[in-house]
C-alpha cells in the first residue's frame, strides 16, 4: 500500500513540484489549492499525512488545522506545516494547534521535506 499524502498549497508551481517529487518516490498524492477544499479533502481522502500551507485564500492554514484537530474523525491524521511564515509566534501557534512539525519552505529542499515526512510516516 502506497502512503497517501495530501498537499494543501495555493501556489500552483510549488504544488506541482512537490507532487512530482512525491509521485516519483512512489507516494500517492492528492492536493487542494485553498483552505476550504483542503479541509474537505482531509475528510474525504483520509490521507496518511497532510502538508499544509498557512497563507491560503479563504480560510487560512491555522484555521484548517484547528478544525481538523477538533474533528474526531480526522484528528489523528498528522499535519506538517509547510509555509513561508516562520517567525517564533507562528511556529508556536502551529505546534500548539497540533501540527507535527513546522517547515519553512525556503529553508528546505524537496528531499529534506520528504525525509521529514518519512520519519513521521514511520
Amino acid at each position: 500500500m502506497f502512503k497517501k499524502i495530501l498537499l494543501i498549497e495555493d501556489d500552483k508551481f510549488l504544488r506541482e513540484l512537490m507532487s512530482k517529487k512525491l509521485i516519483n518516490l512512489g507516494y500517492e498524492v492528492v492536493s487542494a489549492a485553498d483552505g476550504e477544499s483542503g479541509f474537505i479533502m482531509i475528510k474525504e481522502t483520509k490521507p496518511d499525512v497532510v502538508l499544509l500551507d498557512l497563507i491560503l485564500p479563504g480560510i487560512n492554514g491555522f484555521e484548517v488545522l484547528e478544525k481538523a484537530k477538533q474533528d474526531q474523525e480526522i484528528a489523528n491524521i498528522p499535519v506538517v506545516i509547510l509555509s513561508n511564515l516562520g517567525q517564533g509566534e507562528d511556529i508556536e501557534k502551529g505546534l500548539a494547534l497540533g501540527a507535527k512539525d513546522f517547515l519553512v519552505k525556503a529553508h528546505f529542499t524537496p528531499q529534506e521535506i520528504v525525509n521529514k515526512l518519512k520519519s513521521i510516516l514511520g
Binding site: 517529487k21 517564533g88 519552505k105 525556503a106
Partner: protein, 391 residues
Amino acid sequence: MPEKMLNFTETKEDELRRVRAALLNILEDTEEARREAVRERNKTMAIIENLTDGIFLLNNKNEVEIISPLVLDFFKKKKEEIIGKNIVDLFDNEELKEFKELLIDSKKGRINKVTKKEISIGQRMDIEVYTVFLEEGQEEGGVLIILHDVTRDKLIERMKTEFVSIAAHQLRTPLSAIKWTLRMVIDGETGDITSEQKELLEKTYVSNERMISLINDLLNVSKIEEGRFLYKQEMASLEEIVSIVVDSSQELLKMKKMKISFDRPKQILPQVNIDKEKMELVVQNLLENAVKYTPEGGEINISLEKDKNDIVFKIKDTGVGIPEVQKERIFTKFFRGDNVIRMETEGSGLGLYTTKNIVDAHNGKIWFDSEEGKGTTFVFSIPIPNQSIDQ
C-alpha cells in the same frame, strides 16, 4: 516779610508742579511697562496657542495656568474645565491611565521628571512626553509639561515594518520555487544533465540561497524595529549554544582550511535567561564573520568564561580586521567595511546590526578589538540572573 512769604509760596507751587510732572512721568512709564507686559503676554500666548505640541504650564501648586489647544484633544475637555484645576484631577478617564502613571508620582503627589517617554492615549494617539521644572530663585517654581504628537510617525513606522515583513514573506515563495526546481534538476530527478550544466546550476543555487538568507536578515531587522524581537526567553546554557554552532560550522571551516579551537569553560557555567534561537543567531553571525573575513588557513579561537556578573563570549580571528576610521559605524544597519566589500561580495550589512540588537535586548554588552591586517576579537557578555549567583 511778606515778600519772603510770597517767595515761599511760589517755591512751594513750583515744587508741586515739578512733583506732578514727575508723577505723571512715572505713571506714563508704568502704563508703558503695563502695555509692554500685555504685548509680551500676547506674544507668549500667540506662540502657545499656535504650537503644534501640547503644553501645560503648572504653578507650584500643580494647578494648570496655561495650555495650548492640543491639550484639549488629549483630555477631550473644554478649556474652562482645565484651567485652574489641579493636574491630578484631570485624569478621570481610563484612556489616560498610562499617561497619569508616567506623569504623576502619586505617593509624593509630585510631577515626575520625564524626558522623551512614549505613551499611547487609548488607541488614538501616540505622544512623547517631557517635563521641565522651572525654578524661581530658591523657591520651587512651576512645571512645564510638553506633549509631542508622534501618532503619524508611529503609524508610518508600523506600516514600514509591516511592509518589509509582508514583502519578505512574499519574496520567499518564488525563491522556494527556484530552490526546489534547481535542487531537483541538479540531483538528476528530471533527467541527466551535463557536468557543465550542473556546475552552473550549483552556482545559481548558491546565489538563490544568498537571496533567501538576505530576506531572513531583513525579516529580523523588521522584527527588531517592531520591538518584538525576543520571542521566548528561558534559562539555558550558553556553552550548549556555542557547541551547536561550532559543530554545525565544521564543513564551512574545512572548506576554507581554517583551524578553530573552542576553550571550554573549566567549570560548569551558570545558566542565563536567553532566547535560544536568537542567541544562536548571535554566535553564528560572529563565527560566520570570522570565517568570511579571515583568509584561507587562518585561525579562530572561541572562549567562554564567567566574569563577576556575566558570561563572557570571545571570538578571535586572524582576519583582515576593521579599518580604524570605520570602527564607529560597525554596528549600524547596512554598514560594510571598505576592505571587506572588495574581498567578499556576499553580505548584507545586517549581521552585526542584528547581533548587537539581540545582545542589547538581553541586557548584555558587545564590543570588539581590531587591528587591520592582524585580526579581530569580538566579545559579548550576558548578565547572570541573581538567583543563579545565589545557587
